[in-house]
């Protein structure tokens, strides 16, 4: 009984918050330190604390996909991840998609195929597709559709998103 109480007190000391605390995040290969409350989401930290505004805040409830980023390589809704949960886990955003000043093939294909209209959903869709192409560089039409089924596009650019992604898949196939 005594032990439990003691461990309980110790345990209580591990509680963090509710005020601001220092977090260390790894985004697009860079390390950042921020001072935020535990309630701050990864999305808000990216946008408001780090100025990485590519991921967009639309529903803020995991119902639209505009905030999609990769956490440890898999697509997640950053509006439903607390920043505090992401300490020490690599985060990738659309800002990290280019390499050596060159567009990712998906980015280029999106431009070539007009795969967006207002573009507000585009960063999220690109990240969902990036995760797909990272594990399968020549996906089928069904696989592409399934990869972006969690991203809403209100302008309705879906068929061109599909064409753009499949053009990259075909190019990869031929290599």
């Amino acid at each position: 009984m005594k032990d439990t109480v003691r461990s309980g007190v110790l345990a209580q000391r591990r509680r963090r918050g509710p005020g601001k605390l220092q977090l260390r995040l790894n985004v697009n290969g860079e390390t950042y330190e921020v001072m935020v409350e535990p309630r701050r989401t990864l999305l808000d930290v990216l946008r408001d604390d780090l100025g990485l505004t590519g991921a967009k805040k639309v529903c803020d409830r995991g119902q639209c996909g505009a905030c999609t980023v990769l956490l440890q390589g898999v697509p997640v809704y950053s509006c439903l991840k607390l920043a505090i949960e992401c300490e020490g886990k690599p985060v990738e955003t659309v800002e990290g998609l280019m390499s050596n000043g060159r567009l990712h093939p998906l980015q280029q294909a999106f431009i070539d195929h007009d795969a967006f209209q207002c573009g507000f959903c585009t960063p999220g869709i690109l990240m969902s597709l990036k995760a797909l192409f990272d594990r399968n560089d020549s996906p089928t039409e069904d696989e592409v559709r399934q990869a972006v089924e969690g991203n809403l596009c209100r302008c309705g650019a879906y068929s061109k998103v599909l064409q753009a992604a499949l053009s990259v898949a075909r190019a990869n196939e031929q290599e």
């Binding site: 345990a11 591990r14 509680r15 309630r39 607390l82 969690g150």
Partner: protein, 325 residues
């Protein structure tokens, strides 16, 4: 979201001790359900206990004898891509394929899925309702296209889990732990109709936590089907779903479980349909009888009448798919 404290639990004991010590606390795993409820201020915990940090709690283990033990913080995506699930429990894999969206499957956990709150818009909205400790149900005479047709209690909200019907059909059980100890109960008994003091669709106590889900070995020649009807082609909670698992010997149905989803506050066993099937050979006529039996006693309340037709048809299709297998 209101401000809160956050702690990484080091063990299940640690997590449940926090639950016990802080009355106003909640476990966070995938966060896809909890954070939405918090953002909508349906619940406002002062402490979040992260259980993803618990060693080994995300593990999925096959024992080689045909059964599977799933750690409660395994993500739905991890479960769906598990080879044993795909091979031995295909109805679960099928349900996962049409559950939520890829991002949500990457985040949401198995335990969280089974513990999620109903999607009833009166519960989620700023209405006082039975599940929030008030009297009465707004859905009964309101906009109730999503409401249940079975298991009427003081609350008419349906259980939204896509995983629960196949897991119940597979005879799964859950392991629950509290500071008082550990217990294993069948998943079917984990769910309960909200009534009286119980403002929840599960029996999970305040300081209890789902630790594991266990799926037993299925009988030889056991086959299953999972079907789900939605408002659009994907990324929707079910309007109705059916999971069935059936085993035969000498063409007679030996064991059968038919579990309906999204039509009652709990995963609903269509026992009349099961009774109609048991010990008989599956034929077209029997399928008609069983699918009619599946909706016996349904009591729709208005806009949800279509669910009766839908459930009957889903059961019929499910059984028809098993006819020649």
């Amino acid at each position: 979201m209101r401000a809160f404290d956050y702690v990484d639990a080091t063990s299940v004991e640690d997590a449940t001790t926090f639950l016990q010590d802080e009355a106003d606390s909640a476990l966070i795993a995938g966060g896809t359900e909890l954070l939405v409820l918090m953002k909508n201020k349906v619940i406002n915990p002062r402490l979040l206990i992260n259980v993803k940090s618990i060693d080994g709690l995300h593990r999925i283990r096959a024992d080689g004898e045909g059964s599977l033990t799933i750690g409660s913080v395994a993500t739905i995506a991890e479960l769906g891509s598990d080879e044993v699930v795909q091979r031995s429990f295909p109805i679960l894999a099928d349900a996962i394929r049409v559950a939520a969206s890829p991002q949500l499957r990457n985040m949401a956990t198995v335990g969280g899925n089974l513990c999620q709150k109903p999607r009833c818009w009166y519960y989620r909205g700023s209405f006082d309702c039975f599940l929030k400790g008030a009297r009465g149900c707004h859905a009964l005479n309101g906009q109730n296209r999503g409401s249940g047709i079975f298991g009427r209690s003081e609350c008419y909200a349906v259980n939204p889990s896509d995983l629960a019907p196949p897991l119940v059909a597979l005879g799964a059980s859950v392991v629950i732990q509290s500071p008082q100890g550990r217990k294993q109960i069948s998943l079917a008994d984990f769910f309960t109709l909200p009534r009286g003091e119980l403002l929840n669709q599960t029996i999970l106590g305040r300081d209890e936590m789902v630790v594991e889900v266990r799926i037993p070995k299925q009988p030889h020649r056991s086959r299953g089907v999972f079907l789900k009807a939605m408002e659009r082609k994907t990324w929707s909670f079910a309007q109705a779903s059916v999971a069935m698992q059936l085993s035969r010997s000498d063409d007679r149905i030996e064991d059968v479980r038919i579990v309906l989803g999204a039509i009652a506050p709990i995963p609903w066993r269509a026992t009349a349909a099961e009774d109609a099937l048991r010990a008989r050979a599956l034929t077209r006529q029997l399928i008609e009888v069983a699918s009619a039996a599946a909706v016996e006693g349904a009591h729709p309340s208005g806009d949800n009448r279509y669910k009766v037709t839908l459930v009957r048809e889903l059961v019929k299709r499910g059984l028809s798919a098993l006819l020649n297998t």
